[in-house]
């Protein structure tokens, strides 16, 4: 397997506060890779390091053979443009409609004509089931709709790398399944490498090729591999608890 994206010996912290240390894993081309872990363990932080928004305390992020932080800002921008990113909060530009948001990267970085751009935007919005909402402003959308709109924008340039921060949180089970399908289809058709932060177990088991599990207490990765195999073979109790929704003793019969 040729590594398409590598996290090498990464330590992350905010100021003096250590978030995670000694993270190392490689993601192959066309792989769907999940970052798993409890709330607040540093998944979004890891994602922000991977896309170059935060600088590692220690360690490297490699896109192919390029070290993200050895590049000059222009080179880093180049790399970031090959990434489609859907943020946890959506991060749609609030002064633009949904359609304008999706069109923005196309207008700025592609040579399509305006009519073509309009059609592409319609297509991307249709893929996430938001076609009727093209002319709304982000503030007029529900939480789940914002997430899907952000997804459509991330897909705008058919990127080589796709990063999703909890794409299905806040979606109903059916939309969530459709989203899983969409991600699988995208990977198969575009060959994109997909990194997803999620703790939705059904979607982890349905689409993830591999994943890494972060732990908040030891502040490092405690498992890496295919989720089914981890469930079947990993002896670590914390891994089993996470993958089986293993609950603390107190969650016995309902009161």
């Amino acid at each position: 397997m040729e590594a398409h994206l590598t996290v090498d010996n990464l330590t992350m912290s905010y100021g003096q506060t250590l978030i995670q240390r000694d993270l190392s894993f490689a993601i192959g081309r066309g792989e769907i890779f999940t970052i798993m872990g409890g709330s607040g363990c540093g998944k979004s932080t890891l994602l922000r390091h991977m896309i170059g928004l935060l600088k590692p305390k220690v360690g490297r992020i490699l896109f192919g053979h390029d070290d993200l932080w050895q590049l000059n800002p222009a080179g880093r921008g180049e790399l970031q443009r090959r990434c489609g990113i859907a943020y946890q909060s959506g991060a749609l530009l609030s002064s633009m409609t949904v359609a304008e948001n999706v069109a923005l990267p196309l207008e700025q970085f592609s040579s399509h004509r305006p009519a073509e751009i309009r059609e592409l935007v319609e297509l991307k919005l249709a893929l996430v089931g938001l076609a009727p909402y093209a002319d709304r402003y982000p503030s007029q959308l529900s939480g789940g709709q914002k997430k899907r709109a952000a997804l459509a924008r991330a897909l705008a340039l058919d990127p080589e790398y796709l990063f999703f921060d909890e794409p299905s949180a806040g979606l109903d089970p059916l939309s969530s399944r459709n989203l899983d399908d969409l991600i699988l289809q995208l990977r198969d058709s575009l060959g994109s490498t997909v990194v997803i932060v999620t703790h939705e177990l059904p979607s982890i088991f349905a689409i993830a090729d591999r994943g890494v599990l972060l732990d908040a207490t030891t502040k490092t990765q405690i498992a890496i591999g295919n989720p089914h195999e981890l469930l079947a073979h990993d002896p670590d109790e914390r891994v089993q608890q996470f993958l089986r929704r293993g609950q603390p003793v107190t969650h016995g019969e309902s009161a």
């Binding site: 530009l93 700025q108 969650h251």
Partner: protein, 375 residues
């Protein structure tokens, strides 16, 4: 009918203690009963065993849980052995959930000495200067790229911002400039009348508005109006990860957000300043005409004779300078704000205060320099 909450501490035959809770613990009285109980428990011999018995409980809420948590803490400190068996199921489950918290861990070094604190403050201030310098440098580079036609900027954004910073501000600039001109005329006329030199009011108003007041007035209006808006817009964009999204989309926020705003202000503020000078002069004329019997012709000829064109140019130049201040301060405080509603609010306030202080200081400096140079 609900009965009052109560607690009893009874010694048992085997030397242990039984703590029995009765009644409705959702009543306000529960807090008082809880306090009394904690006092009693504090007087127990170290190492005693206490069995809790909740069979007499009729209803309970958070007050009971708070009490039990304190009880547990005290027990741990005084090595009492608590036995939870007799408490209702739900209590145990909620207590277990409350236990299940990660240790707070803020790696900040704990105690800081006075000297260290002063040192940190100084470093902090110095970093502030650094960020301002870096921001202005970045802005100039971005402006250069945009001018060279290589920047990521949408013309639509610039025109939109120009409308907001220009025509939309005309109303308030008109009103305040008119009043400012009238005040200048009034104050001047009262003094000059003593010397029978009332006609010089025209010179005073023209000179005062053109060189000082119009630029400063528009600057302050725009700081409160547009600078605050910039800080709030960019601050909430930062809070909503929009700025990150732009950055990773390859649209540098400096080019895409800051340049259109600063550019729009720098184009519109000199025009607003000129407009404000004109309205101020009209205000002065009104006062002269209505209260001091100076005709419009007299007023205008006196004004054009005594107030040279360069004073208008200096005023306009100040307009450009203050536009830069308002734009840079507004955008910078917005982008540097934290990711919360209150941080955005604080950034807005700071933008206005810093802009106004900077405008007045800068104005004083320009006045000093031009006076020394004799222009």
């Amino acid at each position: 009918m609900a009965s009052a909450p109560s607690a009893q501490l009874q010694p048992q035959a085997d030397g242990s203690l039984r703590l029995a809770l009765y009644g409705d613990w959702r009543q306000p009285l529960a807090n008082e009963v809880g306090r009394q109980l904690l006092l009693k428990v504090d007087r127990l011999r170290e190492g005693s065993a206490v069995q809790l018995d909740g069979h007499g409980l009729m209803a309970w809420g958070s007050a009971l849980l708070v009490l039990l948590r304190q009880l547990e803490e005290n027990a741990a400190r005084r090595q009492l052995a608590l036995d939870w068996q007799g408490m209702p199921d739900g209590v145990g489950r909620l207590m277990a959930l409350a236990h299940h918290n990660p240790e707070p861990d803020n790696g900040e070094p704990g105690h800081k000495g006075q000297l260290q604190r002063i040192g940190l403050r100084v470093i902090d201030r110095w970093r502030n200067f650094e960020t301002v310098a870096v921001f202005i440098g970045d802005l100039l580079l971005a402006l250069g790229r945009v001018m060279a036609g290589k920047g990521r900027i949408r013309l639509k954004d610039v025109t939109e911002q120009m409308e907001l910073a220009g025509p939309k501000a005309l109303g308030i600039v008109s009103l305040l400039s008119l009043l400012m001109g009238m005040i200048l005329a009034f104050v001047g006329a009262i003094q000059l009348e003593n010397f029978g030199a009332t006609i010089y009011v025209a010179s005073l108003v023209g000179f005062g508005m053109a060189r000082e007041m119009a630029a400063m007035l528009t600057g302050i209006i725009m700081a409160g109006r547009t600078g605050a808006a910039y800080a709030a817009q960019l601050g909430s964009m930062e809070a909503n990860e929009e700025i990150d999204a732009l950055r990773t989309m390859g649209l540098p926020p400096m080019e895409f957000l800051v340049v259109p705003r600063v550019l729009a202000l720098m184009l519109m503020m000199p025009l607003l300043t000129l407009y404000s000078i004109a309205v101020g002069i009209v205000g002065g004329a009104l006062v002269c005409w209505l209260m001091f019997d100076i005709t419009l012709t007299q007023y205008m000829s006196q004004l054009t004779e005594t107030v040279a064109l360069r004073h208008f140019l200096i005023g306009t130049f100040k307009g450009v300078l203050f536009a830069l201040i308002v734009g840079v301060v507004g955008c910078m405080t917005g982008m540097a704000s934290g990711r919360s509603a209150s941080a955005v609010g604080a950034a807005t306030t700071r933008a206005v205060v810093v802009s106004i202080v900077a405008i007045i200081c800068c104005d004083a400096l320009v006045t000093l320099i031009t006076t020394v140079m004799g222009v």
